[in-house]
């Protein structure tokens, strides 16, 4: 699909080129602009290295396990990462693309914009296809495939790729509120940590994958086309054809998911009925109730509004001592200034009890389903629990690490800035407030971690006491990781718009060093058999996170970088 006129653009480009040739100043600007383009090319050149890394990883796993199923299981897991990643990308493309603002003022129907953004999303998934092709090519090389099998690799790669996209679309269409960004970040971080610490944990992970490779390809939806490929290329082709059905169903669902998304697609200004007046101290439902039966929204007269202003009702600080015990405890703990920040960061009020109820419901369902599945297949029990736990952990992180509106990007005279940066809100005061917010949820995090780790240890046949200790340590790690995430949160809207400087490079190196340090110490605190050493590692991880937070704050407070980022085009 093309939303432009190639002929017109060609003519325009010719004229612009002529104008640039005639002006030395424009030539200088053109050369400066070209520098940005060169940086973009470097990113494109670096991406194939990831595909190459995946191919090499698959070859290594096959070499170590001597099982082709393990090599295929890596493709299933890789595609699972891409499901979360693409789900987030699809949401961003459809609802957060920079060009939507432009389309909003142009006479283009929404269906066209939907197709356009979808097309851009599909183009963006090409790299995932390259990864899958590289992975299958590695298997084909190692398996010394005949020409016929090599030919079969191409349609199988396409099927695997489209199935992953279909799953991503399915997730977005049916579960749009799931924290996909967090999930994909966690998975990418895990791959990164695995790549760095492969000498320590590599063998354990390889054994884990090898032990359950076949079950993994069976349980994970991304494993169905992979199992089909494995069967067709290595085993019983007729039995493998059975995987055509679930793979086909998932691919077929793509059409339904996209039409579901298209039917709800509204990026333009929506004409809503007139909103009722928002009276301080009176909930919307109360006001709606008072106006029931009339078509006009509830309105207060000018005198009533004047009274609200004059009696300082509108200036009365909110009282968010409810609705749950958690909220009440947090609210009591906040200082006067922190309550002001709470209102700024969470203007719609505090409500984390409801979310936690849903998390515990999901955890109970996961535990029951996994334990029931364990009666049939112990390996599948572990993977089922693993997938369920991963989803629940993503929800937990979304709650514990919530930042409300603080880091929401808002346009400010041509650039994007975080909402907090537009007001006199300090790094430390906001950081401490958000840390308190996480810490206040520690009791429920502890309950979640204890339950899940005890069940996990039971499934793995390990001591339940050790499981309880692990639960305690996971709670500690989750809470102190807030400091790291806070620094990254602040950093997500900052930029060094000047030349590449030593201090920026230093900060990036520090972020990597402290991040890796935290992961290593956190991992050691969970894996070390000696409890004293493990708790010392946990303390060191907490210190690592806090020191990085303060270090970042030092850079921040000394105006070492801008608090703005240029809009993405």
């Amino acid at each position: 699909m093309k939303l432009h006129s190639p002929g017109f653009e060609k003519g325009l480009r010719r004229k612009v080129r002529r104008a640039i040739k005639g002006s030395p100043e424009l030539k200088r600007e053109f050369r400066a602009a070209r520098k940005f383009r060169k940086q973009y090319h470097i990113t494109i050149l670096a991406r194939p290295l990831v595909s190459l890394g995946l191919a090499l990883g698959i070859l290594q796993i096959w070499e170590k396990t001597n099982h082709v199923a393990s090599a295929f299981a890596v493709i299933s897991l890789w595609c699972l990462v891409f499901v979360f990643l693409h789900a987030q990308r699809l949401i961003t493309s459809l609802y957060g693309a920079a060009d939507l603002q432009v389309f909003g003022v142009l006479p283009i129907p929404e269906s066209t914009v939907f197709k356009w953004e979808l097309q851009r999303f599909f183009v963006g998934t090409i790299w995932a296809f390259a990864d899958i092709c590289a992975a299958y090519a590695a298997i084909a090389l190692r398996g010394e495939f005949s020409l016929t099998k090599w030919c079969a690799v191409v349609p199988l790669s396409i099927a695997t790729w489209i199935e992953a996209i279909a799953l991503a679309a399915l997730c977005v269409a049916h579960f749009p509120r799931f924290p996909y960004q967090l999930a994909s970040s966690l998975l990418i971080l895990s791959i990164f940590v695995l790549a760095i610490a492969r000498d320590f944990v590599g063998l354990v992970v390889v054994r884990l994958i090898d032990a359950c490779a076949t079950n993994l390809n069976l349980v994970l939806p991304t494993g169905w086309p992979v199992s089909l490929s494995q069967g067709l290329l290595f085993g019983d082709a007729w039995a493998a054809l059975g995987f055509l059905v679930p793979t086909g169903v998932v691919i077929w669902s793509l059409k339904d998911s996209l039409s579901r998304l298209a039917s709800d697609y509204l990026f333009k200004e929506k004409l809503l009925p007139e909103a009722p007046d928002l009276v301080p101290g009176i909930s919307d439902s109360d006001l709606d109730g008072s106006s029931s039966g009339s078509e006009r929204p509830a309105r207060l007269g000018q005198t009533a509004i004047e009274e609200i202003v004059q009696t300082r009702k509108f200036l009365a600080p909110p009282d968010w001592g409810g609705p749950g015990w958690l909220e009440a405890t947090f609210w009591r703990w906040c200082s006067k200034r922190e309550r002001v920040l709470a209102e700024f960061v969470f203007p719609n009020g505090l409500a984390f009890s409801k979310g936690w109820r849903s998390i515990f419901r999901n955890l109970v369902i996961t535990c029951v389903a996994a334990l029931a599945c364990g009666l049939v297949s112990p390996a599948a029990e572990m993977w089922l629990f693993g997938v369920g736990l991963f989803i629940a952990v993503c929800q937990v992180l979304a709650h514990v690490l919530a930042t409300g509106r603080a880091f929401q990007l808002v346009p400010c005279s041509g650039v994007n800035i975080h909402l907090y940066a537009s007001y006199p809100i300090g790094f430390c005061e906001l950081g401490v407030f958000l840390f308190k917010y996480s810490l206040s949820q520690a009791p429920v995090v502890l309950l979640f971690s204890l339950t899940s780790s005890i069940v996990l240890f039971h499934i793995c046949g390990l001591s339940l006491v050790l499981g309880a200790w692990a639960g305690l340590k996971v709670t500690g790690l989750l809470v102190v990781s807030r400091f790291l995430f806070l620094a990254f949160g602040f950093s997500s809207g900052t930029n060094d718009t000047s030349r590449i400087r030593v201090r920026s490079m230093l900060l990036i190196l520090l972020a990597i060093a402290f991040g890796v340090g935290f992961a290593a110490l956190g991992g050691a605190s969970l894996l070390l058999p000696n409890q004293i050493a493990a708790w010392l590692c946990l303390g060191a991880a907490a210190l690592d996170a806090y020191v990085f937070f303060r270090l970042y704050g030092w850079f921040y407070n000394r105006n070492m970088f801008d608090l703005m980022s240029l809009p993405r085009h």
Partner: protein, 243 residues
């Protein structure tokens, strides 16, 4: 509050937005920032608001260097960009209240001031409506009411006269800004409307290619100009000719 910029430099990669800008703005002045597109006006406002970090040079407010951890100092600066920040699902009054609380300006008497401003800017009838249901001009006026009510020492406004405000709103803004300047507030605004700048500023600061081309009172500029009626237009013509 006296503002002093000492050799402020800011680049965006190879583009120098501010080039060793030195300025001294006395309190109680309304200063218009003028210049062609891309001259560095908005960058100057961003640096003053602490959003952009200068490559070199520094900003002083009453002889105190402006740093991000100087919260007391930062609370004296209020930035209003071309598209104001709002909690769009909240009412006008709630937005004003949040801003007042953030700036710690919700002291006694704030309610009378807010009421007066809501009346002046014709926002009283819509004060309880969500900002998202207002027109662009009304949303800007809501942010302006919050700014005037918070009454900080330094007001920074990016293109306030291209904000969609109606003539009554513009008039009310000018009136309140003038009164605030008399009280010692320093008001910096960028604009491309030269007629407005000529009538509504004590000093004009003309920026060109990141450097200060002129910074003087309108009277002084008029004395030097050949076309005394259109001093700023003449200056812009000269700038174009030098290009």
């Amino acid at each position: 509050m006296k503002i002093e910029l000492r050799a402020l430099t800011k680049s965006y990669r190879s583009i120098r937005a501010l080039d060793h800008v030195s300025l001294q703005i006395e309190p109680g002045q309304i200063v218009s920032l003028l210049g062609p597109n891309g001259a560095g006006k908005t960058t100057l406002l961003r640096c003053l608001a602490g959003i952009a970090a200068p490559d070199s040079g520094s900003i002083y407010l009453e002889e105190r260097e402006l740093k991000r951890d100087e919260l007391e100092l930062r609370r004296q600066i209020h930035l209003l960009p071309d598209f104001p920040f709002h909690f769009w699902d909240q009412s006008v009054l709630r937005n004003i209240a949040i801003v007042l609380r953030i700036f710690e300006a919700d002291r006694d008497g704030a309610e009378d001031r807010v009421l007066e401003l809501l009346r002046d800017f014709d926002l009283l009838p819509v004060a309880l409506r969500p900002v998202s249901s207002l027109s662009r001009g009304q949303a800007y006026k809501a942010a302006l009411v919050a700014m005037i009510a918070a009454d900080r020492e330094v007001w920074l406004l990016d293109e306030p006269f291209a904000s969609g405000m109606d003539p009554n709103g513009i008039d009310a803004f000018k009136r309140h800004a003038r009164v605030a300047a008399v009280r010692g507030r320093t008001i910096l605004y960028s604009t491309q409307i030269l007629d407005v700048a000529e009538r509504f500023s004590d000093r004009a600061c003309v920026i060109h290619k990141g450097a200060i081309h002129a910074f003087d009172t309108l009277e002084s500029l008029r004395e030097r100009a050949s076309d005394k009626g259109n001093v700023l237009s003449e200056m812009f013509r000269q700038l174009r000719e030098t290009v």
